[in-house]
């Protein structure tokens, strides 16, 4: 059979992807918005629905960043509620392994797996900054290296807990004594329908790739081109054998955007318009300030890039991951701006996009299929730019074409997320 592709829906939340000024953009908080997007995804037979997480509001120049969509409900609680209004759709929550404890989180995830009949997934992320830590008992005590070892031990400990009941349904005492956690007792939840909720992981560093290969069921990536995707795919899949795993045991799913039009030219025009609306003049200056670490509010977004150098010691921006060495990024931006004659805003638009599939439904279906059959991905996490109707067109117009091409399911074959993904139920250890 032709290789099948997997699809997931990201609920657009706190970012500048969402074009919030569009009249079709509704609440990112009301439950009805979650219901709409989840039911659309399920109508499209998607594998899962994906929620990101926020633990501290971003700051810019010492004040709360106010230009982007902000404010979101807590993921696991929303997903528990969505389990009531969907039947098959997988329900994936991003939850931090730094500011949670294995016992409580393993219990919440196992509860979601029971309450959804085996549809829970956990996107494991880490945090190291004291800025986020100011909201937690833990504080910001972890350095970069420790956050990965804690995350790995966290997942391993959660799996010990999920395995701790006997097959006949009685709790069995567990004890875990490791570098980060020393805990013992009895877990309160029997083994859940999927055995273990599906584990998702993001990250592109060597450590991140190794962690994914050893631990994850899905890796969430951000690779721009077919070639970069193929390189990542081949590298990560080759690492699996070291852990006694098969290539198909880990699904590689980049986050992508899709813009559809009746002609390719119309789609390109729509995409350019969306990018202009995502990068408002104010947002363009903020993006620049994030690289330069300086107050650049006096600059004209439609004018040239500043000729002063970045401040490497700046604390102008908090709560955002730094994208790289500011001097290197600034040099790259300047070169691009000079070569193409781009303004500040045009430069930001040019550099800040993610992988996009832009075209007619047929050409998008072809490109998605190409990525998957050429082993650049196993599927995609779609990031719409509108809440909650941003996937309506894709489901109505692209999914049927993927089905015609024989690369996407025409019905759910089983009840659990693992069954959608073709992943086996984990073998109980101990």
């Amino acid at each position: 059979m032709t290789k099948q592709l997997h699809l997931a829906a990201h609920f657009p939340g706190v970012n500048n992807t969402t074009v919030w000024a569009d009249p079709r953009s509704k609440s990112q908080i009301d439950f009805s918005s979650f219901v709409h997007l989840a039911r659309t995804a399920e109508r499209g037979l998607f594998d899962f629905f994906f929620l990101a997480e926020g633990l501290r509001l971003r700051e810019h120049k010492g004040r709360i960043h106010d230009l982007d969509v902000v404010g979101r409900p807590e993921s696991l609680t929303v997903l528990s509620a969505l389990a009531a209004v969907t039947e098959h759709l997988g329900l994936a929550a991003t939850v931090n392994a730094t500011f949670n404890e294995p016992y409580e989180l393993a219990r919440r995830l196992a509860s979601l797996d029971h309450l959804s009949g085996g549809r829970a997934a956990w996107n494991v992320v880490t945090s190291f900054d004291a800025f986020t830590g100011e909201n937690f008992r833990r504080g910001g005590y972890l350095d970069r290296a420790d956050r990965y070892t804690r995350a790995a031990e966290f997942v391993a400990t959660a799996r010990e807990l999920w395995d701790s009941w006997t097959p006949d349904g009685t709790p069995r005492p567990f004890a875990h004594h490791g570098q980060h956690f020393s805990i013992s007792g009895e877990f309160t939840v029997p083994r859940s329908p999927q055995g273990h909720p599906v584990v998702i992981q993001a990250g592109d560093s060597g450590e991140g790739r190794e962690f994914a290969a050893s631990t994850a069921d899905i890796v969430f990536t951000r690779h721009g081109t077919l070639e970069a995707g193929q390189e990542f795919y081949a590298d990560v899949k080759s690492r699996l054998a070291r852990y006694g795993r098969r290539p198909e045991d880990l699904k590689i799913m980049p986050g992508v955007t899709v813009v559809l039009g009746d002609t390719d030219a119309e789609a390109q025009e729509k995409a350019a318009d969306i990018r202009r609306r995502q990068i408002s003049p104010q947002n363009a200056i903020v993006a620049l300030e994030q690289i330069w670490g300086r107050d650049l509010s006096a600059y004209d977004p439609d004018g040239p890039l500043p000729d002063i150098d970045p401040d490497p010691d700046s604390e102008l921006v908090k709560g955002r991951v730094k994208v790289g060495d500011p001097f290197t990024v600034a040099a790259k931006w300047r070169a691009l701006s000079e070569a193409k004659g781009l303004s500040i805003r045009q430069t930001v638009i040019e550099t800040s996009g993610r992988q996009s599939f832009i075209g007619t439904p047929a050409s998008v279906a072809d490109r998605l299929t190409e990525f998957v059959t050429a082993d650049a991905a196993d599927g995609f996490i779609l990031v719409p730019h509108l809440t909650p109707g941003g996937l309506d067109d894709f489901v109505d117009r692209v999914v049927p074409l993927l089905q015609e091409r024989g690369v996407f399911r025409t019905e759910y074959s089983g009840p659990t997320l693992r069954s959608h993904l073709g992943l086996p139920t984990p073998v109980r250890k101990g």
Partner: protein, 333 residues
């Protein structure tokens, strides 16, 4: 007791643990059919069972009016996560959430987390009071209307309507603001079992609903007066505290259900409390008899309403939406 105020009725839907949603959904729907104000679901890290808040979030879209009050422990959990989850229960239920703060007292529970040893009850309830306090601050940390979507200035929010809480407790601190915008009820309803002295001290400060256990109407009335006096001493309006008698019930026949209605009616008319939280021995059996036997009798006596007059749990309880502690009405912006 003002005669115009309806009797409030709640039921616990715990009992032996179940691991499928439909069990709890059926019970909550049954309670809703009886126009009960809310259902409670206990929780603990120490005994088998699913996370109660997750269960009631799963129940929320399958019900329309009934209030949903899970037990939430405050001892080994993160106050910031707790406040977010309770606020989210309010969002997904469109204003029907409550929470019942509890503490974890045992070494066995402490060992599940491995972060710190078990502590004396008074310390744990002191901390639970701080959690209730910081939760309310976080819920208020977004003023209503903070989301402005102002296209000319490019601002999605008015950051002057967002507030750092800068809470420093004995065992934790929280900077804020919340990630979750202010929930529909302003504050989800806080329900505290005020039977023991330590939680009672929390109830008089933080509870919207206090549960009391009493042998007879006179004892219940005395407890209610004590709670109201102490709430007043903390600067609260006692009219904003609902006291419910928590009663274990075991119903086998319609006659039992009618007898219960008689007891509830008599206690209520003697001013024992503003209502009752019933704790069935077997929720499936007892709740059906309660809804089909006890409720109609109370309705017939004119003590219990026949329909939900409002949509939110606060409306069921006749409690106003709290004023935001950070918003200063009429002050210059």
């Amino acid at each position: 007791m003002p005669a115009t105020r309806p009797l409030h009725l709640a039921a616990d839907i715990g009992g032996p643990p179940h691991y499928e949603a439909r069990h709890y959904t059926a019970l909550a729907r049954l309670a809703e059919r009886g126009t009960l104000d809310f259902v409670t679901l206990g929780d603990s890290f120490a005994r088998p069972g699913l996370d109660a808040l997750a269960v009631l979030a799963r129940v929320a879209p399958a019900t329309e009016r009934i209030g949903l009050v899970p037990t939430v422990t405050t001892t080994h959990t993160e106050p910031f996560h707790v406040s977010s989850a309770v606020a989210t229960l309010d969002w997904v239920s469109r204003g029907r959430a409550g929470w019942s703060p509890e503490v974890s007292t045992t070494e066995a529970e402490a060992a599940l987390f491995g972060r710190r040893p078990a502590a004396p009850l008074a310390d744990l309830w002191h901390e639970a009071r701080e959690v209730a306090d910081v939760a309310a601050k976080l819920w208020d940390s977004w003023e209503d209307g903070a989301e402005i979507r102002d296209e000319p200035t490019g601002r999605f929010i008015d950051r002057d309507k967002l507030h750092y809480v800068d809470f420093e407790g004995r065992t934790f601190s929280v900077r804020g603001p919340a990630i979750v915008p202010r929930p529909p009820q302003g504050h989800p309803v806080t329900v505290i079992d005020a039977s023991a002295p330590e939680p009672r001290a929390a109830a008089v400060r933080h509870a919207d609903v206090a549960l009391v256990r009493a042998e007879d109407p006179a004892a219940a009335r005395a407890l209610r007066e004590e709670l109201r006096d102490r709430a007043r001493a903390h600067g609260r309006d006692p009219e904003r505290l609902r006291v419910l008698v928590s009663l274990p019930v075991e119903l086998h026949t319609t006659a039992d259900a009618v007898a219960l209605a008689g007891l509830i009616g008599d206690w209520y008319e003697q001013g024992a409390a503003e209502g009752f939280q019933l704790r069935p021995a077997e929720p499936e059996r007892d709740l059906a008899l309660l809804v089909d036997g006890t409720v109609p009798v109370l309705q017939h006596r004119g003590l219990l309403r026949r329909f939900y007059p409002g949509a939110t749990l606060r409306e069921h309880l006749g409690l106003a939406r709290p004023v935001n502690q950070y918003a200063h009405a009429g002050s210059p912006s």
